[in-house]
Point group: C2
Chain length 181, copies 2
C-alpha cells in the first residue's frame, strides 16, 4: 500500500475519532472530516464512499484487533488459570476492550454506537459458536447465540459507560455466573 494512502487513511481516522469526541455522529459532515484531516475533498471520496463506510472501516479495524487471537499476543492479558475456555476468552477480550476504551466510548456515545454494536454482536456470535458445547440449554442454537451476544454486548456497553469501575475479570465473572457453565 502506498505511503500516501496510509497517511491519508490514518489522517481521516484520526480526524473522525477526534470529531466523535465532541460531536454526535449524525452531526458530523464529510466537510468537517476533510477540514480536520486537512485533505482534499476528492481524496476523501477516493478512500470512502460515505461517512457510514468510514465508520464501518473504523469499527472493523478495532474488532480485528480485539478479536485477533494471535497466539503470540495471547500472553499479555491471559489470566485464564483454571477457567473454562469461554471464560478465559471473554476475559481476554474484555482486557482488549479496556485498552481501547477511550476510542470505543466516543463511538458508543451516539448513533454510531449502534453500528459498533451490530459488528460487535456479529463477532461475538462467531466466537460463542465455538464454545456452544459449554452451554447447557434446550433452546435452538440461534436463540442461544443471540441471547449470549445480546447480553454480553449490552453489559460491555454499560461497563464502558460506567468509566469502567469494574475490572475485566469481574465482568467476566458476573457474565459466566449467569450461564451455568
Amino acid at each position: 500500500m502506498d505511503r500516501r494512502q496510509q497517511k491519508t487513511r490514518i489522517a481521516i481516522f484520526q480526524a473522525f475519532t477526534k470529531l466523535l469526541e465532541s460531536k454526535r455522529y449524525s452531526n458530523i459532515t464529510v466537510q468537517e472530516i476533510i477540514d480536520e484531516a486537512n485533505i482534499g475533498r476528492s481524496t476523501f471520496y477516493a478512500h470512502f464512499e460515505t461517512k457510514d463506510e468510514l465508520l464501518r472501516a473504523l469499527c472493523s479495524d478495532i474488532f480485528q484487533h480485539i478479536f485477533s487471537d494471535n497466539p503470540a499476543n495471547e500472553g499479555t492479558h491471559d489470566f485464564s488459570g483454571a477457567d473454562s475456555g469461554l471464560k478465559a476468552k471473554l476475559t481476554h477480550i474484555l482486557h482488549h476492550l479496556y485498552d481501547s476504551r477511550r476510542e470505543i466510548q466516543s463511538i458508543l456515545n451516539c448513533e454510531s454506537g449502534e453500528l459498533f454494536m451490530v459488528h460487535f454482536k456479529e463477532y461475538l456470535c462467531v466466537l460463542f459458536e465455538k464454545y456452544l458445547f459449554e452451554i447447557k440449554s434446550q433452546a435452538p442454537k440461534e436463540f442461544i447465540l443471540k441471547y449470549l451476544s445480546g447480553s454480553f454486548s449490552e453489559t460491555v456497553k454499560w461497563w464502558l459507560s460506567e468509566k469502567t469501575k469494574y475490572q475485566p475479570r469481574e465482568i467476566a465473572e458476573y457474565f459466566t455466573s449467569f450461564i451455568s457453565l
Copy 2:
C-alpha cells in the same frame, strides 16, 4: 385534539409504515412521506420536526400498546398458570409483539430497527427492575438489567425475523430457562 390533527397524524404514520415495508429507513425522504400521506409540506413539519422524531413517535405508540398492563386487557393473552410473575409477564408481552409483528418486522428490517431496539430495551429495563427479586445473582443491579434487556430484546428480534416459527410461549420458556428462576 382536533380531528384534522388526528387524521393527519394517522396518515403520516400509515404512509411511513407503508414506505418502510419497501424501502430502508435512511432512504426514505420527508418528501416521499408527504406524497404518500397526501399532505402539505408545512403540515408535516407542524407535526414532526424531523424524520427521526416521527420514528420515535411511532415506536412510542407501539410500546405503549405492548407494555400497557391495563388489567382489563390482561386476560386476552394471559396463560400464566403456575408460572412465575416474570415468565407470565414476558409471555404476555411476546403475544403482543406477535400481534404487531408485521409492523415491527418492517421497522426492524433496517437502521430504524436500532432506534426501536433502544426504546425496547429501555422499557424492558423498567420491567425487569420490578422482577429483580426473582433473579439470583451477585452482579450489580445495573449489570443484571442490561444483561436481561440485552438478551431478551436480541432474542425477540431474532424470533420475529424467523417469521416467528416459534410460539410466544416457547420463547418465554427458552428465555427463563436460561436464568434459573
